[in-house]
């Protein structure tokens, strides 16, 4: 059997909780050897997406496959190939670090013991200390270390650096980078800390209100996306090869975020008046995209009511 080129394929992946649609028709493909930043405001569907990928919950519509296997089946047919640290995951209070490491080692044929010992029991964590007596940051470090040491091909992390201090966060992401570079594994990291993840991520997927509003390689976005400040009333020339990702009206100007494979030159040429164009970092792009869809949502609600 040939290995599929994509580690994860989601097709119109959707999930309802009661009458609320938490994830709405998300389709994306994630190739091997990438670190994907999964971003979105609270309630955007990040954790739901990760749980669906981990096979912990059933999709309402659509589906996800991991290594060509249905995500729901993967935990049975290839349990050691996926490792996850989800927000709901809490081991028993009495279990100490040594036992948690040993449990994962037993489940994972490719477990990296030296890595686990070095990372999990750095930062002043005693291997014999019960989980319940550890600080928030220490708990996160221990659990993230166990997942990184597992040798899994797909690593799913939900706020892995939550509660960690600056040095420990940097260390965690550096080690994640090294694992991905050395073993060709793939990681999806859901987080609110855009500044930290922008340093390490290869790709970004942004969710807003359950929908995927942007997915792409960060290097491509850095080439292709620009922030534009145009005079009010400035018009786009028709048939311009640029995509408007978001726009916001300010008092004296219009701000736009546009994407073009032709880069800055194509974007400048698309306007009838000369706009001010600048590169845009991930945080600003994220805010532009998520706030726009929030406003769209609000106005859609008004229309409905």
């Amino acid at each position: 059997m040939t290995e599929p080129t994509h580690v994860l394929v989601a097709r119109r992946l959707s999930r309802d909780y009661g009458r609320r649609r938490a994830l709405d028709a998300v389709s994306l493909e994630i190739p091997a050897g990438r670190i994907v930043a999964l971003l979105g405001p609270n309630g955007a569907g990040k954790s739901t997406f990760l749980k669906l990928c981990a096979g912990m919950i059933e999709p309402t519509d659509g589906g996800a496959s991991i290594f060509g296997i249905s995500a729901r089946e993967a935990p049975n047919s290839a349990p050691w190939r996926v490792a996850c640290l989800l927000d709901s995951h809490e081991p028993p209070e009495w279990a100490d670090g040594r036992r948690l490491v040993a449990m994962q080692a037993e489940a994972s044929p490719r477990f990296d013991r030296a890595f686990a010992d070095a990372f999990c029991f750095g930062g002043g964590i005693d291997p014999r200390q019960p989980y319940g007596s550890l600080s928030r940051g220490q708990r996160r470090r221990l659990l993230a270390g166990v997942v990184l040491a597992s040798g899994a091909d797909l690593i799913l992390l939900d706020e892995p650096a939550d509660g960690l201090d600056t040095a420990a966060r940097r260390d965690l992401y550096d080690r994640l980078r090294r694992r991905v570079n050395d073993s060709g594994s793939t990681a999806i990291v859901a987080t609110h800390n855009i500044h930290d993840i922008e340093r390490v991520a290869d790709d970004v997927a942004i969710l807003a209100r359950g929908r995927l509003v942007l997915h792409g390689s960060l290097e491509e976005l850095r080439e292709e996306v620009r922030e534009i400040e145009a005079p009010l009333g400035a018009a786009l020339k028709p048939d311009s090869p640029i995509e408007i990702l978001a726009r916001r009206r300010e008092r004296d100007a219009e701000l736009l975020w546009a994407r073009s494979t032709g880069g800055e030159r194509a974007i400048a040429a698309a306007f009838d008046a000369a706009p001010a164009i600048s590169p845009v970092g991930l945080e600003d792009l994220y805010l532009a995209l998520t706030q726009t869809s929030f406003e769209e949502f609000e106005s859609a609600q008004e229309v409905q009511s």
């Binding site: 050897g33 980078r177 922008e198 390490v200 290097e219 850095r222 080439e223 001010a276 590169p279 845009v280």
Partner: protein, 129 residues
Amino acid sequence: MRIRLDHHSGEPIWRQIVEQVKYGVASAALEPGAQLPSIRALAAELGINPRTVVKAYEELDHMGLVVMRQGQGVFVADRRPDVTASARRRLIADLGRRLLAEGARLGADADEVIKIVSEVADEMERQHD
């Protein structure tokens, strides 16, 4: 030579690497024939995807500033006067473009920017005397 990356500027990482190596070659911090770190080593050092390093090295190879020798590594190209002169011109032209763009943002046209640059040059010369 140490490469420093700004992950938050919106500037592609591969291009930041190209710019800094280019600067290193033009300023002679990188001697002709000097070996650059391997793709894997530089990716590990900078904490980035190896494909980003490949893209930067390929671009530098394409520009004639480095030579990628299969199985041996990546080396700074032997300096030929024309390569150095054109690389230096490109480098300064890039800086000039950026300066003019920033000037335009502040409402200054090219003539005003050039005038200020020559005044700054005069000031610096006087300080050296």
